[in-house]
């Protein structure tokens, strides 16, 4: 895969990682994969070699720790094809211990280095691999008498491989007691894997002479091997602006919104629990379906069955929309998803199905995916990515206060929204009523008043502007006549 600079890129076999690397690893370089135990270093190497074989390249796995049989078994468990990958197994056999081959006359560095070096040189000269995975290179540290010698040997060794037209991936075992700074300096790139209580991640720390997408990106290790979820970058999808207005299908609501909502905008619907936020967004999807468009709903809290039942009750034909391929309803369990993973799922589905409307329900659920990351920047990235695809994005934001002093959002998110629609409860003449209003709309004028809002079996109804009242935003309005001086 040629990169913009003309340097040939080699796929790592992990599509998400290739995207972060701008197409793959630049050929004829040596790259360090570092991380603690269980971080996925070897799995990454298996993908790298498997991709090489698929591309018709000669691939060599040099193992200094695990046996070939064990590595092949692991690859099989992760369904990574290793047929065609050559192995140079320099790991110690069980005989090493059983036959009491221990010695102390010379240092291991002096005894082991020469035969190991000779085996590698012989194998490389004979096989001429185009991809080499060395796992772990840090084993060579024990074969050097000091750090200076180790550094010299490794620079020479990596150069030996690269000069024979190989692209090299090698691992280091990162620990607090044993630094691998020297390896980072001598490599052309550094891929860092993290396995932390909050989730797994990968970060490209260095890629000499090539652009890459910085930052930490979520990854998953499972029966299919490693999947990397690059963080969404809105700029990567910037398309021609499409701000055509779409109707809600409800005259009163359209009037409130100055004609409707625009495509390619982010609408935050804010309000307390049970007030009708999700149903309001579903109303726009109903209209989208009537135009033959596809909508996606990601529900973090409610089960799709519950949403469908409510839609049945208020005249939104969600089941028919699903059957016609105009609606996809997904339940997201936030604790099973990292934010990058969720974002990439939304991206992939939005692009696959050509979605024109997407609802994230809700902010609180999405926040659970973040494991402490900054909510505003992450939600910004996702919403703007979709917006740049010309999609009308709905973000549902629940506020805890049922009545009382008005707050549109409780997480300083209002800047994200092009349109800020709020629903709230009012107490009028001792009865609880719902109202809808618009606080902000970037692309058109809108009504600066509240309208009555109700949902029943006939669907959503938006009444005339509430006039003759004051204190609406406090939740307990009074007739204007009772205004005090």
């Amino acid at each position: 895969m040629p990169a913009e600079s003309g340097v040939r890129r080699l796929s790592t076999g992990i599509p998400g990682l290739d995207r972060i690397l701008g197409g793959g690893l630049p050929a004829l370089g040596s790259y360090l994969v570092r991380g603690g135990p269980g971080a996925g270093k070897s799995t990454l190497g298996l993908h790298f070699l498997s991709a090489g074989v698929a591309a018709g390249e000669r691939c060599l796995y040099i193992t200094l720790e695990e046996s070939e049989a064990r590595i092949r078994a692991q690859a099989q468990e992760r369904r990574i094809a290793l047929e065609g990958v050559a192995f140079l197994d320099i790991s110690p056999s069980s005989d090493f211990f059983a036959e009491a081959q221990s010695y102390d006359i010379f240092t291991p560095a002096e005894v082991e280095r020469e035969p190991i070096t000779q085996r590698i040189v012989t194998e490389v000269e004979a096989y001429r691999p185009q991809r080499v995975f060395l796992d772990p290179l840090t084993q060579f540290r024990y074969l050097a008498s000091d750090n200076f010698e180790f550094r010299r040997q490794m620079i020479s060794f990596l150069r030996f491989l690269v000069e024979r037209d190989a692209t090299v991936l090698f691992t280091s075992e990162k620990s607090e007691s044993l630094s691998d700074d020297d390896l980072q300096f001598m490599s052309d790139g550094v891929l860092e894997l993290a396995h932390e209580p909050l989730g797994r991640a990968i970060e490209v720390r260095k890629l000499r002479g090539a652009d890459f997408q910085p930052g930490r990106h979520a990854l998953r290790l499972d029966g299919s091997g490693m999947t990397v979820f690059p963080r969404l970058l809105p700029i990567a999808t910037k398309q021609a602006a499409d701000f055509a207005q779409i109707s809600s299908g409800i005259a009163g609501l359209d009037a409130l919104l100055g004609g409707g909502l625009e495509r390619g905008t982010v609408t935050m619907i804010s309000g307390p629990s049970g007030v009708g936020k999700t149903s309001l967004a579903m109303q726009f999807m109903k209209e989208a379906a009537a135009r033959g468009e596809c909508s996606l709903v990601y529900s973090f809290e409610e089960d799709p069955a519950l949403i469908l039942r409510r839609c049945d009750a208020i005249g939104i034909p969600a089941r028919a929309m699903i059957a016609a391929g105009h609606l996809r309803l997904s339940k997201i369990e936030p604790l099973q998803y990292a934010a990058d993973e969720f974002d990439n799922r939304v991206r992939a589905e939005a692009e696959t199905y050509g979605a024109r409307v997407v609802m994230i329900d809700s902010v609180a659920g999405y926040e659970l995916c973040l494991r402490g990351e900054d909510l505003r920047s992450r939600l910004h990235g996702l919403a703007k990515y979709l917006q740049n695809l010309g999609i009308a994005v709905f973000i549902i934001n629940e506020v805890e206060a049922i009545t009382g002093a008005f707050r549109a959002t409780e997480a300083r998110l209002s800047y994200l929204a092009d349109n800020l629609v709020f629903l709230r409860y009012l107490e009028i003449d001792g009865r609880l009523q719902k109202a809808i209003g618009v606080l902000k709309k970037r692309l058109s004028d809108f009504e600066r008043c509240l309208r009555a809002f109700d949902i029943d079996t006939r669907g959503i109804r938006v009444g005339e502007p509430l006039s003759g009242l004051r204190g609406l935003l406090m939740g307990v309005p009074e007739p204007r006549g009772e205004m005090r001086a």
């Binding site: 006359i105 240092t107 002096e110």
Partner: protein, 122 residues
């Protein structure tokens, strides 16, 4: 130049150590005879074999190793004693029983090569 035909005697209780020393000298075109017990060492001494050099790793042997070192010295065999640790007592014992030098493990190959080549040349 020492007798090119004479072998080097390697004495030690660790078979792997003896193998490594043998490989080390084989790379320098030197034939070695190994003795991994006092009984085998006694057999070599009784046979009156002539050795170009003897290396005795005292690890795993008791004080009975010292009279054998003395016998090697008495037979004009250049002798190097190899000690498992830095010890003034072991060094004194080794030199007192005819050792040219007392080396401490692990040995550096480069240093051992330089030392033995000099001794063999003498």
């Amino acid at each position: 130049m020492a007798d090119a035909q004479a072998a080097i005697l390697l004495v030690g209780a660790n078979a792997r150590n003896l193998d490594l020393l043998e490989e080390f000298f084989a790379r320098r075109q030197r034939h070695c005879i190994k003795a991994d017990s006092l009984a085998r060492l006694d057999a070599q001494l009784a046979a009156g074999s002539h050795f170009a050099l003897a290396l005795v790793d005292i690890s795993g042997f008791d004080a009975a190793i010292w009279p054998r070192c003395q016998k090697l010295h008495d037979a004009q065999t250049p002798l190097l004693v190899i000690s498992p640790r830095q010890s003034a007592d072991l060094r004194r014992e080794g030199l007192a029983h005819g050792a040219h030098d007392v080396l401490v493990k692990p040995l550096m190959m480069r240093d051992l090569a330089a030392l033995t080549e000099t001794m063999l040349a003498e």
